[in-house]
């Protein structure tokens, strides 16, 4: 027999209070989501209203121009694509291999702890610092072509690398030790166990981290400002060493124009950028689901 009287008025009042606080919290949460979503919806609405009219084939295939009605997005878009390619090709292998080394092979020592702390801090460094670094090292010291996707990609790769390492390490940490044990117990070497078993299971997490890093890089303006990608380019870049611009840079430049006609272009460019981001996220989700192993 319980010692409490669950039918007493005190008990009923207490239970009612608990139900009430639960309802309050649910409403609070709902309100928070509604508020933030409404801001985003407002933003989207304004962009669509301003820019949808300007989205035509001429806009999408044309390059930048001083004449607002002729100016198109293709030059910046191609520049973004090339820059992202360089970023990906550099940061992904470096980031994944570093994550694997730090998680699986590195001995526990002071030196390694320093490395870990440094990488974690790098992820929080303001992006403009990376731009300064790019300017000093890639352009002034190594004399790589200014305002090219090569330099832009290199700079953004440095920025994305810590993000990939951190998410990669978390993904590898999440693989249960039982899988490693099972591989080692049949006589696999450490390297075999990691590459045949741990990495495939960690891949969805690594891919997610990579996409997050890339999406952030796609929208970066400040570091690219420092390395000079703010120039007025009329022809789309031919290769990664040609001078070019990127989408967010183009948006910034157009928004700076005094000519009111560029407002439509700016909004249209923003829509293109958003579509780009949605596409990247879509690819991320697709790849993640494809590689997700049910276990």
């Amino acid at each position: 027999m319980s010692n409490h009287n669950w039918n007493s008025p005190e008990a009923a009042k207490r239970i009612a209070q608990r139900h009430a606080s639960e309802r309050r919290f649910k409403l609070l949460g709902l309100g928070a989501i509604a508020l933030s979503l409404s801001f985003l919806a407002l933003l989207l609405f304004i962009m669509l209203r301003n820019g949808l009219g300007g989205l035509d084939w001429a806009f999408l295939s044309g390059s930048d121009s001083t004449n607002a009605s002729v100016a198109g997005i293709w030059g910046a878009a191609k520049g973004s694509l090339l820059t992202m390619l360089v970023t990906l090709l550099l940061s992904f292998p470096m980031g994944v291999l570093s994550a694997i080394y730090l998680e699986e092979f590195a001995p526990r020592s002071r030196w390694i702890e320093w490395v870990e702390v440094s990488i974690n801090n790098l992820a929080a460094v303001p992006s403009i610092i990376f731009g300064l670094l790019g300017l000093a090292v890639f352009i002034n010291t190594l004399h790589l072509p200014r305002s090219s996707p090569l330099v832009g990609g290199l700079t953004l790769a440095l920025m994305t690398f810590p993000v990939i390492v951190i998410s990669g390490r978390n993904a590898i940490k999440a693989v249960p030790p039982s899988i490693r044990d099972a591989a080692l117990a049949v006589g696999a070497s450490k390297v075999q166990a990691v590459f045949h078993h741990v990495l495939p299971l960690a891949l969805p997490g690594i891919l997610t981290g990579t996409i997050i890093g890339m999406a952030r890089a796609l929208g970066e303006t400040a570091p690219l400002l420092m390395i000079g990608m703010r120039a007025f380019i009329v022809t789309p870049p031919g290769g990664i060493t040609d001078p070019s611009s990127v989408l967010p840079m183009q948006i910034f430049l157009w928004s700076d124009e005094i000519d009111k006609a560029f407002v439509q272009n700016t909004s249209a460019a923003i829509i293109v950028l958003l579509v780009f981001l949605l596409l990247m996220n879509g690819i991320a989700i697709y790849l993640r689901n494809k590689f997700e192993v049910r276990w």
Partner: protein, 253 residues
């Protein structure tokens, strides 16, 4: 015809500053099942893992003393732990098949050790291993299905087949039936009884009844020490040590 397969002499195992195994000497024979019993934290699993150098994977683990497999010191620098683990296999408490197909689960070990030179040979190894593990009839038509889709008992038999596939000499089992229901447990025990003819089997178990059913020799561990080691029926009907008796009659604690 029981010859000694594994010999341990004055083995200590340390986890950092903490001593987990204290001066254990024991002979494990071929063709029989040896059970390690003892209360939680007595070191039986630790000692088991040092028999195939799985303790190497734990940071701060240190093994001193001598452990010989057919006369060779397994901790000598000339002994490659990778090759050792193909000769001394291990099955774990929670079934841990690879998240791959049943075929791939079994094929992985032979592949990395180069035990099959053609697909036909590999198929043969797969069939033999699954048959020895008593699983062939149940899965022969669905080798491409993921190993994780099997029931708990089947998964554990898959793990046993995986261990057998690399043709080991010793099979170590760390509480293999803890996570299984009684029927699956009985099937595994029957399997162990069949396997002992060809391998030296060492099983760590929490259940004294299981040790009594399954083993021919039993070793009782307590706080890192080997308290008593002898024929199973002698240990359970007339143990020599007071501590052994208290543990098996439920007077422990």
């Amino acid at each position: 015809m029981t010859e000694t397969k594994l010999t341990a002499r004055n083995v200590d195992v340390w986890y950092g500053p903490k001593k987990a195994i204290d001066d254990v000497s024991i002979d494990i024979d071929n063709g029989i099942v040896t059970a390690f019993i003892g209360p939680s934290g007595c070191g039986k699993s630790t000692f088991l893992r040092s028999l195939n150098r799985m303790n190497d994977t734990i940071v701060g683990a240190r093994v001193t003393g001598q452990i010989l497999l057919d006369g060779e010191d397994i901790y000598a620098s000339s002994m490659d732990p990778v090759a050792l683990r193909a000769r001394v296999g291990m099955v774990f408490q929670k079934p841990n098949p690879f998240p791959k197909s049943i075929y791939e689960n079994i094929a992985y070990g032979p592949r990395i050790h180069g035990l099959a030179s053609s697909k036909a040979e590999m198929d043969g190894i797969i069939e033999r291993s699954l048959t020895k593990a008593g699983l062939w009839d149940e899965v022969k038509d669905r080798l491409a299905e993921p190993g994780t889709a099997l029931s708990g008992g089947q998964q554990q038999r898959l793990c046993i087949a995986r261990a057998i596939a690399v043709d080991p000499e010793v099979i170590l089992m760390d509480e293999p039936c803890s996570a299984l229901d009684p029927i699956a447990t009985a099937k595994i025990e029957e399997l162990i009884d069949e396997l002992k003819d060809n391998y030296a089997i060492v099983i760590v178990t929490h259940s004294m009844q299981q040790a009594a059913r399954v083993s021919q020799r039993t070793a009782f561990f307590h706080l890192g020490n080997l308290v008593e080691y002898g024929e199973t029926d002698q240990i359970f009907t007339n143990p020599r040590e007071e501590k052994t008796k208290d543990y098996i009659t439920g007077r422990y604690g």
